[in-house]
Symmetry: C2
Subunit: 382 residues, 2 copies
C-alpha cells in the first residue's frame, strides 16, 4: 500500500504541478480581504496568491492565529465568528458564531485551546482547538481587550470598563483565574513582549502605561510614562493605534504617540523616555524588522499612503515609501528579508526587499488588511 | 478535477489515518541517530516518532537546517555529505558528498542557497537549495568554523588556522566577499545573536572572546572577557562546548567556562562579566527556554547524565534533572512549553514539561544526538 500512497502523494505534492493543493505549510500565509469577508491564501516563496477562502462573515476588523502544525488558522471576526480554516484544502473546516462582537483571540502554547476576547457580551470564551466546542466561559462584566497567550497553557487579558487585568491558567484539571491587579482607567489594548516577560497595557481613560512582570511570582501593575496619552485637542485621533504593533528593539519599547505625529522610545530597563522621532503622520503599527535595528511604521488616515523606516539606534527615519492607498498592515518574512504591505484602496499587497527597498512583486487582493504568515504559529503572545 | 483531488488529499491528510504521511509540517522534527546514520522523524504534537530515514552516511557529528516551507531538511554530516531530506515523503531527495569533513552549514534567508563549512579541504561551498548544484566555492586556505546565515542572502564564518572572519554577500549577481577582520588565534566556534546583531567568536589559541557588530557599516572585531579560555591544567577539557549553545537572555550572554564546572554571565551592553554559576559539570550546550528567564545546561562526559536549569535573573541553578545516560542535546518547543532531551546511551528522547518538570513522554531512538524542530526554518543565525 505504501508505494501507491507515496506515488499519489508525490503526484499531489509537486510544487509546480497543476494539481493543487500544496503540501508543506511553513511558507504560507493569509491576507484578510475585509470587504468581501474572504481570505487570500499566499505563498511566500513564490510571492503569489494560491487560493481564496470565502464565507468568513464580517472581517472588517479581524485577526487570526495558527495551529502549531501550521495547518489550521483560527480567524476572529467582528461579527463574533470563530472560523477554523484548513490551509491545505483551502476551505473552512468549522465555523461558529460565539459572540456578538469579538475583537481578537489567541491559541495556547500546546495548540489545544483557542481563547476569544469579546466586546459583546464581554468576557472571554475558550474553545477546544479541534472541535470548537466551548471548554470555558469567563464572564468579565466588561469588554475584554489585549488577550494574549502566555506559556504554560495560560492567557492574560484586561477589561475596559473595570480597568483590571487577569490571568487564566488551564494547565491543571480546572481553570485557575487570577486577578493580576488594577491597571488604570479604560485599557484600550495590551501587548506581551516577545519573551513573554512584560505585559504592557495602554490606557484611554487616564494617562500613562501599565507594565506587569509575568515572570514574577506575584505579578503587580507598575505605571510608567505618566504623561502618555491623548493630552491636547490640537490633533484629532484618527485611529487608536494597535499596541500589537509596539516594537521591542535595542532594549527599548517603541510606542505610538496618541494623536501626534511621533514615536516615543522608552528604555526597557528603567521605563524612562529616551527619545522622540517626528513622523509623517499618526503611527498605527510599529513593527520591528527581524534581524535588524529598524522598525517600520504605517499611519492613520488621511496620511495612510506612506510607510516610514526608523533606525532604533539613532531614532531617525531613514526611508519613506509610498506603497499605495490606505496602507493597513505590514508583515515581515520571519527572517526579515522582505516585508509584505497591504494597500486596501489599491486592492494590492506590495512586497519590498528590506535592504534595497526595491519593490519585488505585487499581488492583487480585494481590500486587503491584515497579513499573517504561518510562522506566527511558533511565536508567543500573538 | 478539483473535488477528486481534494477527496484523495483529504483521505491522505487525516491525522489519525493509517495512511501516512502527514501533510502539514509545522510541528515536525528530526532526531539524528548517530551510530546508524539515520534520522528519526518526530511529531511534536503527538510526542511520537512517525518515521525513519536511512542512508545519511556518517552522522557522528551532524547538524541540519530547514527550507522556509518546512518541507526539506539539509543535513551536514561528518563525512562531507550534504543530504536533502523530504519531510513529507520521509525519504532522501538528493545526496552529494561535497567535501571530506564538513562541520556544519546554513541556509540563506530566502531559502535558495545552502552553505557548507568544511574542515577538509577547508573553505566554504555554496549550493543551490533545489538541485544541490554548486554555485560558489570559496577556498579559505584554512578550516572554516562558525558558519552562520545573515539577513540579506549573506553568510559569515571564521577560519581556524588564520584567525580571520569573513562575510559573503550573495544578494547581487556576483558574490562579494569581505574580510571582517582578524579575530584572534584559532577560533573554535562562533555564534550569531538571535537578532543577527553580534557575531561572537570563541578562541582556542589565546584568551578572550571576539565580538563583531554586523549592523555596523564597517564591522570590526572587539575583544572582551580577556581572561576567558582554558587557563589551568587542573581540569581536562572533555569536550569543547558548542557556542551554538550560548544563550542570550535578560541582556546577558551566558558562556560555558572552558574546562570548568561554571557558567559565565556577561552584560551584553558593556561586555563585562557580571556573575558565575557553579554547575554540576563542564557545560556543553546552554539553551534559553523561550518565554522564560531560564536556561538549560547539559554537561561533558563523564557527568553527562544530568541537565540543570538556571535562572538568568539570580544566576542560580533552580532544578537538576537526570534524563538518562549521555545527554547530548536539548530542543525546546518553539513557544517553550516542553523540552526534548536526547539520552544517547539510553537510546531514548525524554520530553519534559518546562514548568512542572514532569516527564511527559519518552521516544525510543537509536543513539540519538541532535534534535531539530522545523520551526528552526524561521530563525536567523542557525
Amino acid at each position: 500500500m505504501r508505494p501507491l500512497v507515496t506515488a499519489i502523494f508525490l503526484a499531489l505534492c509537486q510544487p509546480a504541478a497543476a494539481m493543487d493543493p500544496c503540501c508543506a505549510t511553513g511558507d504560507l500565509g493569509l491576507v484578510v480581504e475585509r470587504t468581501t469577508g474572504s481570505l487570500l491564501v499566499v505563498d511566500r516563496s513564490d510571492r503569489a496568491a494560491i487560493g481564496r477562502i470565502q464565507g468568513l462573515g464580517d472581517l472588517s476588523h479581524a485577526s487570526l492565529t495558527y495551529s502549531p502544525d501550521e495547518r489550521y488558522a483560527y480567524v476572529f471576526g467582528r461579527d463574533g465568528g470563530l472560523t477554523k480554516v484548513d490551509m491545505l484544502t483551502r476551505s473552512i473546516a468549522k465555523r461558529i458564531v460565539q459572540g456578538g462582537n469579538s475583537i481578537g483571540g489567541a491559541i495556547s502554547d500546546d495548540g489545544r485551546l483557542i481563547a476569544v476576547s469579546n466586546y459583546d457580551p464581554g468576557g472571554v470564551k475558550v474553545f477546544d482547538a479541534d472541535t470548537l466546542e466551548m471548554v470555558a466561559d469567563v464572564p468579565a462584566g466588561a469588554k475584554t481587550i489585549g488577550l494574549v497567550d502566555v506559556p504554560g497553557r495560560r492567557f492574560a487579558w484586561s477589561t475596559w470598563e473595570t480597568g483590571e487585568a487577569f490571568m487564566a491558567d488551564f494547565s491543571g484539571p480546572e481553570m485557575v483565574l487570577t486577578k493580576l491587579g488594577d491597571v488604570g482607567a479604560n485599557p484600550f489594548d495590551a501587548v506581551l513582549t516577545e519573551d513573554a516577560h512584560i505585559y504592557l497595557i495602554g490606557l484611554f481613560g487616564e494617562k500613562g502605561v501599565t507594565a506587569i512582570d509575568l515572570w514574577d511570582e506575584r505579578p503587580k501593575p507598575v505605571r510608567f510614562l505618566k504623561d502618555y496619552g491623548k493630552t491636547d485637542d490640537d490633533l484629532p485621533v484618527y485611529k487608536m493605534p494597535h499596541l500589537q504593533g509596539w516594537a521591542f528593539t535595542e532594549g527599548q519599547y517603541v510606542l505610538p504617540a496618541i494623536g501626534r505625529h511621533e514615536l516615543i522610545w522608552v528604555d526597557r530597563e528603567n521605563l524612562q523616555e529616551v527619545a522622540r522621532t517626528p513622523m509623517h503622520g499618526q503611527p498605527v503599527f510599529i513593527v520591528a524588522q527581524p534581524g535588524s535595528p529598524f522598525v517600520w511604521v504605517n499611519f492613520a488616515t488621511p496620511l495612510n499612503d506612506t510607510v516610514q523606516v526608523v533606525d532604533s539606534r539613532t531614532h531617525e527615519a531613514v526611508k519613506t515609501l509610498t506603497p499605495g492607498a490606505a496602507v493597513l498592515h505590514m508583515e515581515f518574512a520571519p527572517r526579515g528579508a522582505e516585508v509584505w504591505i497591504s494597500a486596501r484602496d489599491d486592492n494590492k499587497v506590495a512586497i519590498y526587499d528590506t535592504r534595497t527597498f526595491e519593490l519585488l512583486a505585487e499581488i492583487a487582493a480585494d481590500t486587503p488588511s491584515g497579513i499573517f504568515f504561518t510562522a506566527r504559529a511558533h511565536r508567543t503572545g500573538l
